[in-house]
């Protein structure tokens, strides 16, 4: 069993380097794999469909999103656990994933990405014939 997938490795180092504010939030993720696909769940509270940017460039999957909140004018911060308005995290994808068939959905700030494996690499059951 191939135990460590590339997709499960840490985000790339250039993650926050090029962002203007210099500080981005790293969304928490859950990653699962079965025979057919790898599924990724990311917490992006405050991100709407319009402000989400999901990109696959070559072998890198980048999740990026901006938090948009309704805020009255002249607000002063009393307490802030969340200290940036931008999420960003990237993963490298391994070869057996079919990047053309990636599916994603966003509901209540929870992003679900399904990365299907190519047909030819899916596990097959081998029939043992009695000899």
């Amino acid at each position: 069993m191939n135990s460590e997938k590339d997709v499960a490795t840490h985000a790339t180092q250039s993650e926050s380097a090029d962002h203007a504010s210099g500080f981005v939030l790293r969304p928490a993720v859950d990653i699962f794999e079965n025979g057919e696909s790898i599924r990724l769940f990311a917490d992006l509270p405050g991100v709407s469909e319009e402000s989400l940017n999901l990109e696959v460039d070559d072998r890198t999957l980048t999740i990026q999103g901006d938090i948009a909140l309704e805020m009255p004018e002249g607000m002063r911060s009393l307490h802030a656990d969340v200290r940036s308005r931008c999420y960003r995290r990237a993963f490298t994808l391994s070869n057996e994933l079919d990047t053309a068939r990636i599916e994603a959905s966003l509901k209540d700030g929870l992003l679900t990405v399904t990365l299907p494996k190519r047909e030819e690499v899916r596990p097959r059951k081998i029939e043992i014939t009695a000899g």
């Binding site: 993720v29 859950d30 990653i31 079965n34 917490d43 405050g46 991100v47 607000m75 307490h79 700030g109």
Partner: protein, 148 residues
């Protein structure tokens, strides 16, 4: 528009005091009296609280919640938020990373003393629970006219 609530380090002095606080924490020194209801950094779910002259706004960052499972109660100026973040565990799948918070949570937030608990208004949108309160009428700032 967003700046104030997340941009904690408003000016240079704020940044210095935060650095000082972080260093104190790192050395294990007590940075002076803490709020009695203070919670450890990294408590889940993440919460931002902002105030204006007219009221107070609480933002709870909790993605993928079932709205029915969120419980909100307010007693004087203490807002209690509790609920449960369902864990995701697809059947027959191996997990690689499981960083997302799951399970029951409960957080108590001390709001300014002069908020009106009856004015609470809550909505859950894009994974953020936004609870807003108005200040009591007598606490709102008002213009004072100078009589001739």
């Amino acid at each position: 528009m967003f700046g104030s609530i997340t941009n904690w380090e408003g000016d240079l002095f704020d940044q210095f005091s935060r650095l000082q606080r972080d260093l104190d924490e790192f050395r294990g020194a007590s940075p002076g009296p803490a709020n009695i209801r203070a919670v450890a950094r990294g408590s889940q779910p993440a919460i931002n609280v902002g105030v204006t002259a007219e009221g107070a706004d609480v933002y709870v960052f909790a993605a993928g919640l079932d709205q029915e499972q969120i419980e909100l109660s307010v007693q004087q100026n203490l807002l209690t938020i509790s609920g449960e973040c369902p864990a995701i565990q697809p059947e027959g799948a191996n997990a690689y990373l499981q960083e997302r918070f799951s399970g029951k949570f409960r957080r108590v937030i001390a709001l300014p003393e002069d908020i009106n608990p009856d004015s609470a208004n809550a909505k859950y949108r894009d994974g953020v629970l936004h609870v807003s309160f108005a200040r009591k009428e007598e606490a709102k700032p008002r213009q004072i006219r100078i009589n001739q």
